[in-house]
Each structure stands twice: as structure tokens, then as C-alpha cells.
Amino acid sequence: MGVVSLNVNFALTQPWTVLFGPSGSGKTTVLRAIAGFVLPDDGRIEAASGVYFDSVARIFVSPHKRAVRSAGQMARLFPHMTVLRNIIYGAGSTSKPDDVRQISSEVIASFGLRKLEQRMSHDLSGGERQRASVARALVSAITFDGLGKPLLLLDEPLAGLDLAMRDQVVAELKRWTEQWKIPVVSVTHALGEAFQLEAEVLKIGDGKVLQQGPVASVLAEERQQLLRQLRGQDSPS
């Protein structure tokens, strides 16, 4: 097994940041370090609400105390709960139950989960589970207890969706997070998704940040390459 050396240094400046890079480049590890599931060897992770990690000052804030909400690559819906109970599970404790119900209901409808509310996780398809997992993290972020809104971390949670459904969910996610001013960092392989989000892009490769900036400039080369491929396929051979 290879040991991945990851050395990244960046600041989030835009509401939505996309980590873009090949498999194994360390994108997931970056998200897991921000969430507190991975302990970096050294460095510092700082948020508006305080320092989460500092190797010199020996600070480590437990994941549940960070103003961060995550949905991982695997949906991990709790198998002993219905979809609805999963989605309201992480709702803030100071939110009024009526508000949580209202927000959950709207998120459920916008993610096309209405008919699945009372189903158990094992009765869902992979794509349905992923949508429910994103809805769960989103409801938790919207009903966050602390001051401001938490950072929403999404690690390719929509990778299993067909293109049309993914476009719809991404559009809904963008609308929700803009409405509630929830900052997002997401990982994606999908070029179209990055462009649809009009996000800031952090291109990661060889264990470091190669480039940071608007999607149109950072991923211009990848976009050209994709267009060339499409034209090549279209033209008669």
C-alpha cells in the first residue's frame, strides 16, 4: 500500500469551493481533516468559529464540536431508521420541532424523496440513499444550533446519480445553500458539476494544491480537452 503525502495550504474565500483532482490525490483526506476524522501530522485548521486543529499549540477539536456538517461518499443512512427519521436526525436541538418539520419537508420535496419518507434504507436504490444522505446533512446545516451557519462538506455524494437527477439535485443544493448562506466545500470528478456550480475550484494533484480560482480559468484546459473529445466523437471517421 502506498503512503500518500499530502501538503495543502488554502483559504476558502467563496461560498462554494470545489476540490477537483484525480482519484487518490487526497481530496477526501482534506475533507476528513476539516471534519476532524483525520489527524494531520502537522499544520493548522481554522474556521470563523475558532481553531479546530493546531499541531504546535496541540489543539484538536472533536468532530461533533466543529461547525461542520458532512455527507460522505457512502450514504451511511442509519439502517434502523426510516428515511424521514434519518433526515431529521441531525437537526439542531434548539430548533423548534415545527420548524425542523417544515424545513425537512421542503428539503425532502425538493430532492424528490417525498414518496420514500417512510422507507427503510435497505429498500432504497443507491442514488436514493445518496440523495437522502445529502438531505440529512443539509437539514442539519440549516437548523444548526450555533452562531452563523456551519461549513457543509460534500464528498462526491451524488456520484451514483444519473445525469438528469444530478443536475436537479445540484441546482436544488445550490439554491438551498445560497438561501441559508451555508458555505460548501465539495469534492467532484464531474467537470459539468463544477461548471454548473460556478464555484471556486481548488485543483489538487500530487498531494498539493496546484491552482485555486474561478472554475472558468482553473478548469479551462480540462474543458477544452472534453470539448475536443466530444467533437472527435461527433465527426465522421
Binding site: A35, G36, F37, S62, P63, H64, R66, V68, R69, S70, A71, G72, M74, R76, F78, P79, H80, Y89, G90, G92, D123, S133, R136, A137, S140, F144, D145, P150, L153
Partner: protein, 228 residues
Amino acid sequence: MDIQALWLTLKLAASTTAILLVIALPLAWWIASGRSVARALVQAFVALPLVLPPTVLGFYLLILLGPLTLPGRMLIRMFGHPLAFSFGGLLVGSLLYSLPFAVQPLVAGFKAVDTGYVEAAEGLGVRPLRVFLSVVLPLARASLLTSAVLAFTHTVGEFGVVLMLGGNIPGATRTLSISLYDQVQEFNYGAANRTALLLLSISLAALLAIYLVPALRKAEGRQADVAG
């Protein structure tokens, strides 16, 4: 039939099981949630009664709870009488003797819970105690049943520790297994047969609970799937 012994045995087993679950749940979760020298040491001590002759445990407890040691003297002052040769003494002995039977199934059950679910819950800002109660424990519920049943039946069947620590006082420390021993000593095989059959029934019922409940639940789930 020694009804007094039956009642005492059931009281001892129920009290031991209830107290053990309170101790074993956090202990097993701590053991299962990481790897360290401290955890390995605690696990070894918890497992000790599995390999130790019950008479050895009974002997040390007899000394520890008696007037020869400082903790023993403190306990005598607290309760007004020595814990040895009383129900309280039996309870202490049973707790230690059945501890591994309560802890080990729980450790195995907790280790089998996918850590991804714990991370998913923590990633939603949920406190560890709530994660444990609402995610880990329900997912490990089969091991909770196994733990309770094993602790109960193991206490019902204990002999060496009870004899060393409790003596054989009717109504206070004479359990069913001691009563059976007495009946055989008195060549009263009819009574011994009834007592043995009762102990056998309790053990069999417990094992059926462990093996049948999950099987029935699975069959029920399959039927629900077909109906759905």
C-alpha cells in the same frame, strides 16, 4: 422443590444482570472504541474469571470482604456486618464472576458496528453519548440480548464462588446449584432430579432466546418484504 433457593437464585441473577449491564455497556464501548495498552490490560482483567477456578476468586473475595483487610473493615462499618456469608457478598462475587459474560458479547457487538455510521452521526454534530444510544446500541442490540442472557444464566449456574463466599445459609446464600449439591449429598435423588431439571430448563430457555429471537425476527422481515 426448594422454593426459597429458587427465589434467591432468580433474585441474585436478576440483580447481577441489571447491575452488570450498567457497568458493561460503557466499559465494553470504551474497550471497543480504540486500541491501547490500558484497554488490553482491562480486557485481560475482565476475562480473568473465564480461566480462574471459581474457588480461587471466592477465596480472595472472602479475604478481601472480611475483617482482615482495610476495604473489608470499611464495608463492615458501612453495612454493620461482614459482606461474606450474606446476599450482598454473593452479589459482589457474581458481578465479578459473570463480568466477562456480560462484557465480551458487547465488545464483539460494538466492534461489528460499521464506524462509518458513527462518523456519519458525528458529522451531523451529534454528541457521542447520543450517537452511542441512538445509533451504536440499536445496531448492536443482538449482542445486548446475548450479554444479558449469558450474565443471567451464568449467575444461575455458579457454584464455586457461592460456596466459598456465601456458605450454605437457607434463604440467604443457598442457591439452586448449592441446593442440588445438598440433595445429592443426602441421597435425595428425586428432589435432586427436580432441581437439576429446573436448572436445565432455565439454561435451555436462555439459549433458545439467544438463537431463536434473531432467527424469528429475520423470518418476520422476509415475510414483510414479501407482503410489501
